[in-house]
C-alpha cells in the first residue's frame, strides 16, 4: 500500500504550489498598493493638517494659509440632501423588486437599476448640468441630485441583497399566520433588513462624498466662505481637491494632500466599519 503518490502526483503538487503562490502574490500586491497610496497621502497631508486648517475659510487665490471649513460643510450638505432623496426611493424600489414585481417587470426595472449603477458619473454630471444648471447659476441642489443618482442604485442593490437574505420561508411563515402583505413587509421583512440597509447607505455615503464628476458642472464655482444655502453653489471637498491638483502651485498641492487625507480618513473609516458590520450581518443571516 503506497499512499505517498507517484512521480506524477509530485508534479501535480508543484503546479499546485505555483498557482497558490501567484494568487498570494497578487493579493499582497493589492494590499501593497493600498498601503503606498495611504502612506504617501498621509505623509504629505499630515503636515498641513491642523485645527485651523479644518476651521478656516478657503485661502485667497495665491495666498498662503486658509482652511477647508466651507468644503466640509458643503460636502456634508450635498451628501445629506442626496441621502435624503436616494434612501427612501431606493428602499421602495428594492421592496418593489423583491416583494411585488412580476418576473418580467422585475427584470426590466432591475436592468435599469443595474444600468444606473454602471452609468459613468461624468454622464450624471452632464445630465444634471443639462437639467438643472444650464441656463441657471450653479447650485447645490443640482449637485445633490447628481449624488443621489450615484447613490440610488447602490442603496437599492444593498437593500435588495439583504431583503434576499431574508428567507422566503419567513415571509411564508408570516403570511401563513394570516398576516397581510404590508404587515409582513413592515413587520418581518424590513426589520430583518434594517441593519443591512443602514450599512448599505453608509457605504453609499462614503462613495458619494468622494464623487467629483457629478459636481463638476453643478457646483464647482463657489466662494471661499461657508455656504449653507443649497440654492447657491456649495464649496465641496472633491471638486476643490481636483482644482488644487490641477494647479501648479506647491502650496495648492499641499492643501490638496491635506484635504485628500481628510476625505480619505472619512471614507476609509466609514466604509471599513460598514463593511465589517455588513460581513457580520451576512454571516448571521446565513
Amino acid at each position: 500500500m503506497n499512499l505517498q503518490g507517484d512521480r506524477r502526483l509530485r508534479r501535480r503538487r508543484i503546479v499546485n504550489r505555483l498557482a497558490e503562490g501567484s494568487a498570494t502574490v497578487a493579493a499582497l500586491l493589492a494590499v501593497l498598493v493600498l498601503g503606498i497610496v495611504v502612506w504617501s497621502i498621509a505623509k504629505r497631508g499630515a503636515g498641513e493638517l491642523s485645527w485651523g486648517f479644518l476651521t478656516k475659510d478657503l485661502p485667497l487665490f495665491g495666498q498662503p494659509g486658509g482652511g477647508i471649513a466651507p468644503l466640509l460643510v458643503g460636502s456634508a450638505l450635498l451628501v445629506g440632501i442626496a441621502t435624503a432623496i436616494a434612501l427612501p426611493v431606493a428602499v421602495l424600489i428594492a421592496v418593489f423588486l423583491e416583494e411585488f414585481a412580476s418576473p418580467r417587470v422585475g427584470a426590466a426595472i432591475q436592468l435599469c437599476v443595474d444600468l444606473l449603477n454602471g452609468l459613468p458619473s461624468i454622464i450624471i454630471g452632464v445630465f444634471v448640468f443639462g437639467l438643472l444648471v444650464y441656463g441657471h447659476p450653479q447650485n447645490g441642489w443640482a449637485g445633490s441630485v447628481g449624488l443621489s443618482i450615484v447613490m440610488l442604485p447602490l442603496v437599492t442593490r444593498a437593500t435588495q441583497e439583504v431583503l434576499r437574505l431574508v428567507p422566503t420561508s419567513q415571509r411564508e411563515g408570516a403570511l401563513a399566520l394570516g398576516a397581510s402583505r404590508w404587515r409582513t413587509v413592515l413587520g418581518i421583512t424590513l426589520p430583518s433588513a434594517a441593519g443591512g440597509i443602514l450599512t448599505g447607505t453608509v457605504l453609499a455615503v462614503a462613495r458619494a462624498v468622494g464623487e467629483t464628476a457629478p459636481l463638476l458642472f453643478a457646483t464647482s464655482i463657489f466662494g471661499r466662505t461657508i455656504e449653507w444655502n443649497p440654492g447657491h453653489a456649495l464649496p465641496n471637498l472633491p471638486v476643490q481637491i481636483f482644482i488644487w491638483s490641477e494647479s501648479d502651485l506647491p502650496e495648492d498641492h499641499a492643501r490638496a494632500w491635506a484635504s485628500a487625507l481628510v476625505l480619505l480618513i472619512f471614507v476609509l473609516v466609514t466604509s471599513l466599519t460598514a463593511r465589517l458590520v455588513l460581513a457580520r450581518t451576512r454571516r448571521r443571516m446565513g
Partner: protein
C-alpha cells in the same frame, strides 16, 4: 379553541385596513420602481437633447473626426475614443490576472482569519475617491513610472511603436495604470463573490476525488464561473471607460492620436471633465454633450453585455438544459 367558524368572517370585514395597506404599499413601491425606468430614459433623453446642436451640425462623422478647434468651431470624437479604448485596454490587461489571483486567494487559499482583513483592504482600495487617487497618480505614481518603469519598457520593448517616445509623468500609460488600480478591486470582489458562490459541496466533491487544490480550482471553481468572470471584467471595463476625474488628472490632456503610450492624450470622459469651465460656444457645449452621448451608448452597451453574460451564466448554473 374556537368552535365551528362563523362563515361570515372568512369573507373579511374588519380586514379593510389590511386591504388598504396592501394597495398603498404596492402603489408607492411600484411608483418608485417606475421612477428608476423613467430616470434612465430621462438621462438618455437629456444628454441626447443637449447634443442636438452638434448632432445636426456634424452628424455621424463627428465620431471619426479628430479636430477640437474652439476657434473654427469644428469638433470630433476620434482622439477621445482612441484614448478611451487604449487606457481601458491597458487597465484590463493589468487588472484581470491580478484580480483573479486576489479573488482566488481570498476565496480559496487564505486562512479564514486573513480573508476578512485582506478582503476588506482590497475593497478599501475601491473606496478611495477617484479624485484622491488621481492626485496620487499625478504627483506620485506618474513621476515614479516616468523614472523607473517607462524607461525600462522603452529600453526593452522600444522597437514596438507603443513603447517608443520619451517617458512622461502624465499620459496614456499612467492613466491606464491608475485605471487598473481602480478596476482591480471591482473585478476582484465580483470574482470573489463568484468563487464563494461555488457551492462548497462542489469543491469538496472535487477534493474527494483526489484532486489537488489547484486542480479543484481550475476544474470546478474557474470553469464553473467563467462567464461570470467575463461579466466581471466587462463591469470593470465599464468603470474604466467612464472614469473621468482621475484620468483627467493624469492623462495630460491632448486631443490627438499618438502611437506611443507615453504620450499625453484624452479620453471621452476626461475631455468632458477637462472642459467644464472653458466651454465658450453653444456648439462646443453641444459637442461635449455629443461626447457624453457616445460615452453613454458605450456604457449602456457594455453594461447590457455584462447583463447578458450573467444571465446566461445563471442559466448554466441552475442547469436549465
Amino acid at each position: 379553541m374556537s368552535a365551528v367558524p362563523m362563515t361570515q368572517e372568512l369573507r373579511g370585514g374588519r380586514r379593510l385596513r389590511d386591504r388598504f395597506g396592501d394597495r398603498l404599499l404596492l402603489i408607492v413601491t411600484s411608483a418608485a420602481g417606475l421612477g428608476a425606468v423613467v430616470l434612465i430614459g430621462f438621462i438618455a433623453y437629456k444628454v441626447i437633447r443637449g447634443a442636438h446642436l452638434a448632432l445636426s451640425t456634424f452628424g455621424l462623422p463627428f465620431v471619426w473626426h479628430t479636430a477640437w478647434d474652439t476657434n473654427k468651431n469644428v469638433f470630433g470624437a476620434a482622439p477621445g475614443l482612441y484614448g478611451t479604448a487604449v487606457t481601458s485596454l491597458i487597465a484590463l490587461l493589468i487588472a484581470t490576472p491580478l484580480a483573479l489571483g486576489i479573488a482566488l486567494f481570498l476565496s480559496e487559499l487564505a486562512p479564514r482569519s486573513l480573508r476578512l482583513v485582506v478582503g476588506s483592504l482590497v475593497e478599501t482600495l475601491a473606496a478611495i475617491p477617484s479624485v484622491v487617487l488621481g492626485l496620487w497618480g499625478i504627483l506620485v505614481l506618474g513621476p515614479f513610472l516616468a523614472d523607473h518603469v517607462e524607461p525600462w519598457l522603452h529600453n526593452s520593448f522600444g522597437f514596438l511603436p507603443i513603447f517608443s517616445g520619451t517617458p512622461q509623468s502624465s499620459g496614456i500609460f499612467v492613466a491606464g495604470v491608475i485605471l487598473a488600480i481602480m478596476v482591480v478591486p471591482i473585478v476582484a470582489s465580483v470574482c470573489r463573490e463568484l468563487f464563494l458562490s461555488v457551492p462548497p459541496e462542489l469543491e469538496e466533491g472535487a477534493l474527494a476525488l483526489g484532486a489537488t487544490r489547484w486542480e479543484m480550482v481550475r476544474g470546478v471553481v474557474l470553469s464553473s464561473s467563467r462567464p461570470g468572470i467575463g461579466a466581471a471584467v466587462i463591469l470593470g471595463l465599464g468603470r474604466a471607460l467612464g472614469e473621468a476625474i482621475a484620468v483627467t488628472q493624469v492623462i495630460g490632456a491632448g486631443w490627438f492620436i499618438r502611437s506611443s503610450l507615453f504620450a499625453p492624450g484624452d479620453t471621452l470622459a476626461s475631455r468632458i471633465a477637462g472642459q467644464y469651465q472653458g466651454a465658450v460656444s453653444k456648439l462646443q457645449i453641444a459637442s461635449l454633450f455629443y461626447l457624453a452621448a457616445i460615452l453613454l451608448v458605450i456604457g449602456l452597451l457594455t453594461n447590457l453585455l455584462a447583463q447578458i453574460v450573467v444571465k446566461r451564466f445563471a442559466f448554466q448554473r441552475t442547469g436549465g438544459s
